[in-house]
Symmetry: C2
Subunit: 167 residues, 2 copies
Protein backbone atom coordinates (compact mmCIF):
# COMPACT_ATOMS: atom_id res chain seq x y z
CA UNK A 1 0.00 0.00 0.00
CA UNK A 2 1.26 3.45 -0.93
CA UNK A 3 1.16 5.86 1.99
CA UNK A 4 -0.80 9.08 1.51
CA UNK A 5 2.35 11.16 1.91
CA UNK A 6 4.52 9.22 -0.53
CA UNK A 7 5.29 11.36 -3.56
CA UNK A 8 5.55 9.74 -6.99
CA UNK A 9 6.28 11.70 -10.19
CA UNK A 10 2.67 11.02 -11.27
CA UNK A 11 1.11 12.38 -8.10
CA UNK A 12 3.47 15.37 -8.23
CA UNK A 13 2.07 16.38 -11.62
CA UNK A 14 -1.52 15.34 -10.98
CA UNK A 15 -1.91 17.11 -7.66
CA UNK A 16 0.38 20.11 -8.11
CA UNK A 17 0.53 20.72 -11.87
CA UNK A 18 3.07 20.26 -14.65
CA UNK A 19 5.33 22.96 -13.24
CA UNK A 20 5.60 21.42 -9.76
CA UNK A 21 8.99 20.79 -8.22
CA UNK A 22 10.02 19.08 -5.01
CA UNK A 23 11.53 21.39 -2.41
CA UNK A 24 14.71 20.23 -0.66
CA UNK A 25 13.98 19.67 3.04
CA UNK A 26 15.98 18.26 5.92
CA UNK A 27 13.31 15.73 6.88
CA UNK A 28 13.00 13.42 3.91
CA UNK A 29 9.90 11.83 5.43
CA UNK A 30 8.03 15.06 4.73
CA UNK A 31 7.81 15.73 0.99
CA UNK A 32 7.36 19.43 0.20
CA UNK A 33 6.34 20.69 -3.23
CA UNK A 34 6.50 24.04 -5.01
CA UNK A 35 3.62 24.74 -7.36
CA UNK A 36 2.53 27.70 -9.45
CA UNK A 37 -0.75 26.21 -10.56
CA UNK A 38 -2.42 24.43 -7.64
CA UNK A 39 -5.43 26.47 -6.51
CA UNK A 40 -5.36 27.97 -3.05
CA UNK A 41 -7.96 27.57 -0.36
CA UNK A 42 -8.29 31.25 0.46
CA UNK A 43 -9.05 30.64 4.12
CA UNK A 44 -5.89 28.55 4.48
CA UNK A 45 -3.91 31.19 2.56
CA UNK A 46 -5.23 34.02 4.70
CA UNK A 47 -4.26 32.17 7.88
CA UNK A 48 -0.73 31.73 6.55
CA UNK A 49 -0.44 35.35 5.38
CA UNK A 50 -1.64 36.84 8.64
CA UNK A 51 1.82 35.91 9.92
CA UNK A 52 3.32 38.46 7.48
CA UNK A 53 0.85 41.21 8.29
CA UNK A 54 -2.14 40.53 6.07
CA UNK A 55 -5.43 41.87 7.24
CA UNK A 56 -8.78 40.24 6.52
CA UNK A 57 -10.11 41.04 3.08
CA UNK A 58 -13.13 40.00 1.07
CA UNK A 59 -12.41 36.70 -0.70
CA UNK A 60 -13.37 38.25 -4.03
CA UNK A 61 -10.66 40.89 -3.73
CA UNK A 62 -7.99 38.38 -2.72
CA UNK A 63 -8.90 36.12 -5.63
CA UNK A 64 -8.62 39.06 -8.02
CA UNK A 65 -5.24 40.11 -6.59
CA UNK A 66 -3.92 36.56 -7.05
CA UNK A 67 -5.33 36.33 -10.57
CA UNK A 68 -3.62 39.62 -11.48
CA UNK A 69 -0.26 38.59 -10.04
CA UNK A 70 2.61 37.69 -12.31
CA UNK A 71 3.37 34.60 -10.23
CA UNK A 72 1.71 32.96 -7.24
CA UNK A 73 3.74 30.20 -5.65
CA UNK A 74 2.55 27.74 -3.05
CA UNK A 75 4.79 25.50 -0.98
CA UNK A 76 2.79 22.44 -0.07
CA UNK A 77 3.34 19.67 2.44
CA UNK A 78 2.40 16.74 0.32
CA UNK A 79 -0.49 14.53 1.15
CA UNK A 80 -2.40 12.73 -1.58
CA UNK A 81 -5.71 13.70 -0.03
CA UNK A 82 -5.05 16.92 1.87
CA UNK A 83 -1.95 18.82 0.80
CA UNK A 84 -1.33 21.58 3.29
CA UNK A 85 -0.08 25.05 2.41
CA UNK A 86 3.11 25.74 4.38
CA UNK A 87 4.62 28.55 2.30
CA UNK A 88 3.65 31.25 -0.15
CA UNK A 89 5.07 34.06 -2.24
CA UNK A 90 3.80 36.09 -5.14
CA UNK A 91 5.09 38.64 -7.63
CA UNK A 92 3.53 41.51 -9.46
CA UNK A 93 5.18 43.04 -12.49
CA UNK A 94 5.19 43.49 -16.23
CA UNK A 95 6.82 40.15 -17.01
CA UNK A 96 9.70 41.84 -18.83
CA UNK A 97 11.41 44.71 -17.02
CA UNK A 98 10.11 44.84 -13.44
CA UNK A 99 8.97 42.27 -10.90
CA UNK A 100 8.17 42.89 -7.25
CA UNK A 101 7.96 40.09 -4.69
CA UNK A 102 5.20 40.31 -2.07
CA UNK A 103 3.81 38.26 0.80
CA UNK A 104 6.67 35.84 1.37
CA UNK A 105 5.55 33.53 4.16
CA UNK A 106 6.59 30.23 5.70
CA UNK A 107 4.26 28.63 8.23
CA UNK A 108 5.71 29.08 11.76
CA UNK A 109 5.93 25.30 12.28
CA UNK A 110 8.22 25.02 9.24
CA UNK A 111 10.47 28.02 9.87
CA UNK A 112 14.16 27.69 10.72
CA UNK A 113 14.89 24.89 8.25
CA UNK A 114 15.97 26.93 5.26
CA UNK A 115 12.61 26.83 3.52
CA UNK A 116 12.40 30.62 3.14
CA UNK A 117 15.71 30.55 1.33
CA UNK A 118 14.55 27.69 -0.93
CA UNK A 119 11.32 29.56 -1.67
CA UNK A 120 13.16 32.75 -2.66
CA UNK A 121 15.58 30.72 -4.77
CA UNK A 122 12.62 29.14 -6.55
CA UNK A 123 10.98 32.54 -7.14
CA UNK A 124 14.19 34.07 -8.50
CA UNK A 125 14.80 31.05 -10.75
CA UNK A 126 11.34 31.55 -12.28
CA UNK A 127 11.91 35.29 -12.75
CA UNK A 128 15.32 34.62 -14.28
CA UNK A 129 13.73 32.15 -16.71
CA UNK A 130 11.31 34.92 -17.69
CA UNK A 131 14.32 37.22 -18.28
CA UNK A 132 12.97 39.89 -15.94
CA UNK A 133 15.51 42.70 -15.68
CA UNK A 134 15.04 43.77 -12.07
CA UNK A 135 13.38 42.34 -9.00
CA UNK A 136 12.34 44.44 -6.03
CA UNK A 137 10.74 43.75 -2.67
CA UNK A 138 9.77 45.44 0.57
CA UNK A 139 10.54 43.59 3.78
CA UNK A 140 10.17 43.97 7.51
CA UNK A 141 13.30 45.05 9.40
CA UNK A 142 13.43 41.65 11.12
CA UNK A 143 14.28 39.85 7.89
CA UNK A 144 16.85 42.30 6.48
CA UNK A 145 19.77 39.96 7.15
CA UNK A 146 17.81 37.07 5.60
CA UNK A 147 17.58 38.91 2.29
CA UNK A 148 21.05 40.43 2.45
CA UNK A 149 22.62 37.02 2.95
CA UNK A 150 21.04 35.95 -0.33
CA UNK A 151 22.40 38.79 -2.43
CA UNK A 152 19.61 41.33 -2.11
CA UNK A 153 20.75 44.94 -1.91
CA UNK A 154 19.17 47.07 0.81
CA UNK A 155 17.91 50.52 -0.20
CA UNK A 156 18.72 53.32 -0.07
CA UNK A 157 22.25 52.84 -1.25
CA UNK A 158 22.59 56.24 -2.86
CA UNK A 159 20.92 55.22 -6.05
CA UNK A 160 17.26 54.42 -5.61
CA UNK A 161 15.03 55.46 -2.75
CA UNK A 162 11.83 53.64 -2.00
CA UNK A 163 8.55 55.25 -1.13
CA UNK A 164 5.13 54.18 -0.23
CA UNK A 165 1.85 55.99 -0.23
CA UNK A 166 -1.23 55.15 1.74
CA UNK A 167 -3.89 55.80 -0.87
CA UNK B 1 -10.68 77.81 -39.26
CA UNK B 2 -9.92 75.66 -36.22
CA UNK B 3 -6.26 75.60 -35.35
CA UNK B 4 -4.57 72.20 -35.13
CA UNK B 5 -3.83 72.70 -31.47
CA UNK B 6 -7.34 73.73 -30.43
CA UNK B 7 -8.90 71.11 -28.20
CA UNK B 8 -12.62 70.41 -28.41
CA UNK B 9 -14.40 67.78 -26.30
CA UNK B 10 -14.85 65.71 -29.48
CA UNK B 11 -11.18 65.76 -30.46
CA UNK B 12 -10.22 65.00 -26.86
CA UNK B 13 -12.21 61.75 -26.97
CA UNK B 14 -11.44 60.88 -30.58
CA UNK B 15 -7.70 61.35 -30.38
CA UNK B 16 -6.99 60.37 -26.78
CA UNK B 17 -9.79 57.99 -25.83
CA UNK B 18 -12.86 58.09 -23.61
CA UNK B 19 -10.76 58.30 -20.45
CA UNK B 20 -8.78 61.35 -21.56
CA UNK B 21 -8.59 64.40 -19.33
CA UNK B 22 -7.05 67.81 -19.87
CA UNK B 23 -4.02 68.54 -17.71
CA UNK B 24 -3.88 71.94 -15.97
CA UNK B 25 -0.96 73.93 -17.38
CA UNK B 26 0.24 77.51 -16.90
CA UNK B 27 0.28 78.25 -20.61
CA UNK B 28 -3.33 77.98 -21.75
CA UNK B 29 -2.23 78.20 -25.38
CA UNK B 30 -0.71 74.75 -25.05
CA UNK B 31 -3.38 72.12 -24.36
CA UNK B 32 -2.01 69.05 -22.57
CA UNK B 33 -3.95 65.81 -22.24
CA UNK B 34 -3.68 62.73 -20.00
CA UNK B 35 -4.63 59.48 -21.69
CA UNK B 36 -4.57 55.84 -20.65
CA UNK B 37 -5.55 54.47 -24.02
CA UNK B 38 -3.74 56.36 -26.79
CA UNK B 39 -1.08 54.07 -28.30
CA UNK B 40 2.55 55.04 -27.88
CA UNK B 41 5.12 55.41 -30.60
CA UNK B 42 7.79 53.30 -28.96
CA UNK B 43 10.67 55.32 -30.42
CA UNK B 44 9.18 58.54 -29.01
CA UNK B 45 8.54 56.81 -25.67
CA UNK B 46 12.09 55.47 -25.48
CA UNK B 47 13.52 58.92 -26.13
CA UNK B 48 11.43 60.32 -23.28
CA UNK B 49 12.31 57.49 -20.91
CA UNK B 50 16.02 57.69 -21.49
CA UNK B 51 15.85 60.81 -19.32
CA UNK B 52 14.86 58.58 -16.37
CA UNK B 53 17.50 55.97 -16.99
CA UNK B 54 15.96 53.62 -19.52
CA UNK B 55 18.32 51.66 -21.67
CA UNK B 56 17.59 50.58 -25.23
CA UNK B 57 15.48 47.46 -25.41
CA UNK B 58 13.92 45.43 -28.21
CA UNK B 59 10.56 46.97 -29.18
CA UNK B 60 8.83 43.63 -28.68
CA UNK B 61 9.90 43.49 -25.02
CA UNK B 62 8.86 47.09 -24.36
CA UNK B 63 5.46 46.47 -25.95
CA UNK B 64 4.96 43.41 -23.77
CA UNK B 65 5.99 45.29 -20.62
CA UNK B 66 3.46 48.03 -21.41
CA UNK B 67 0.74 45.51 -22.22
CA UNK B 68 1.36 43.78 -18.88
CA UNK B 69 1.28 46.99 -16.88
CA UNK B 70 -1.69 47.82 -14.69
CA UNK B 71 -1.76 51.38 -16.05
CA UNK B 72 0.20 53.22 -18.72
CA UNK B 73 -0.39 56.95 -18.81
CA UNK B 74 0.72 59.34 -21.50
CA UNK B 75 0.76 63.12 -21.15
CA UNK B 76 0.32 64.55 -24.64
CA UNK B 77 0.84 68.01 -26.03
CA UNK B 78 -2.26 68.25 -28.14
CA UNK B 79 -2.10 68.64 -31.89
CA UNK B 80 -4.88 67.28 -34.06
CA UNK B 81 -2.37 65.78 -36.45
CA UNK B 82 0.73 65.08 -34.39
CA UNK B 83 0.18 64.88 -30.64
CA UNK B 84 3.55 64.80 -28.94
CA UNK B 85 4.36 62.71 -25.88
CA UNK B 86 5.67 65.03 -23.15
CA UNK B 87 5.10 62.87 -20.08
CA UNK B 88 4.71 59.25 -19.05
CA UNK B 89 4.16 57.02 -16.04
CA UNK B 90 3.12 53.45 -15.57
CA UNK B 91 2.13 51.10 -12.76
CA UNK B 92 2.47 47.40 -12.21
CA UNK B 93 0.43 45.61 -9.60
CA UNK B 94 -2.42 43.28 -8.84
CA UNK B 95 -5.17 45.86 -9.22
CA UNK B 96 -6.39 45.28 -5.67
CA UNK B 97 -3.76 45.31 -2.93
CA UNK B 98 -0.47 46.51 -4.42
CA UNK B 99 0.52 48.97 -7.12
CA UNK B 100 4.02 50.17 -7.94
CA UNK B 101 4.70 53.29 -10.00
CA UNK B 102 7.55 53.13 -12.52
CA UNK B 103 9.14 55.32 -15.18
CA UNK B 104 7.74 58.70 -14.24
CA UNK B 105 9.07 61.15 -16.81
CA UNK B 106 8.37 64.68 -17.98
CA UNK B 107 10.10 65.90 -21.13
CA UNK B 108 12.93 68.32 -20.15
CA UNK B 109 11.32 71.17 -22.13
CA UNK B 110 8.17 70.86 -19.99
CA UNK B 111 9.80 70.46 -16.59
CA UNK B 112 9.53 73.07 -13.85
CA UNK B 113 5.87 73.91 -14.46
CA UNK B 114 4.25 71.50 -12.03
CA UNK B 115 3.49 68.83 -14.62
CA UNK B 116 5.23 66.07 -12.64
CA UNK B 117 2.96 66.85 -9.72
CA UNK B 118 -0.14 66.86 -11.95
CA UNK B 119 0.94 63.54 -13.47
CA UNK B 120 1.40 61.90 -10.06
CA UNK B 121 -1.93 63.32 -8.90
CA UNK B 122 -3.59 61.81 -11.97
CA UNK B 123 -1.93 58.42 -11.36
CA UNK B 124 -2.94 58.37 -7.67
CA UNK B 125 -6.50 59.39 -8.54
CA UNK B 126 -6.76 56.41 -10.90
CA UNK B 127 -5.31 54.03 -8.30
CA UNK B 128 -7.65 55.41 -5.67
CA UNK B 129 -10.60 54.85 -8.01
CA UNK B 130 -9.43 51.23 -8.34
CA UNK B 131 -9.37 51.01 -4.50
CA UNK B 132 -5.75 49.84 -4.46
CA UNK B 133 -4.60 49.49 -0.85
CA UNK B 134 -0.97 50.53 -1.14
CA UNK B 135 1.17 52.29 -3.71
CA UNK B 136 4.95 52.03 -3.82
CA UNK B 137 7.69 53.48 -5.98
CA UNK B 138 11.45 53.67 -6.28
CA UNK B 139 12.94 57.05 -7.10
CA UNK B 140 16.30 58.67 -7.71
CA UNK B 141 17.74 60.65 -4.78
CA UNK B 142 17.35 63.87 -6.78
CA UNK B 143 13.56 63.70 -6.63
CA UNK B 144 13.14 62.69 -2.98
CA UNK B 145 11.82 66.11 -1.97
CA UNK B 146 9.46 66.09 -4.96
CA UNK B 147 7.75 62.95 -3.68
CA UNK B 148 7.93 63.88 -0.01
CA UNK B 149 6.21 67.20 -0.67
CA UNK B 150 3.29 65.25 -2.11
CA UNK B 151 2.77 62.96 0.85
CA UNK B 152 4.97 60.02 -0.07
CA UNK B 153 6.79 58.39 2.84
CA UNK B 154 10.49 57.68 2.35
CA UNK B 155 11.74 54.22 3.37
CA UNK B 156 13.14 52.90 5.55
CA UNK B 157 11.13 54.44 8.32
CA UNK B 158 11.51 51.50 10.69
CA UNK B 159 8.69 49.51 9.20
CA UNK B 160 9.42 48.36 5.69
CA UNK B 161 12.82 48.08 4.01
CA UNK B 162 13.19 47.98 0.29
CA UNK B 163 15.46 45.68 -1.66
CA UNK B 164 16.36 45.10 -5.19
CA UNK B 165 18.03 42.20 -6.88
CA UNK B 166 19.86 42.22 -10.18
CA UNK B 167 18.65 38.95 -11.65
Amino acid sequence: MISACQLTPESLRQIYGEDARECPFLNEQIPLVFSQSRQFDLVELEQLLQSVGWSRRPVRRVRRALDNSLLTIGLWRHDSNFPRLVGFARCTGDGVIEATVWDVAIHPLYQGSGLGKELMKYVLDLLRDMKIERVTLFADPGVVSFYQSQGWILEPRGNRCAFWYAS
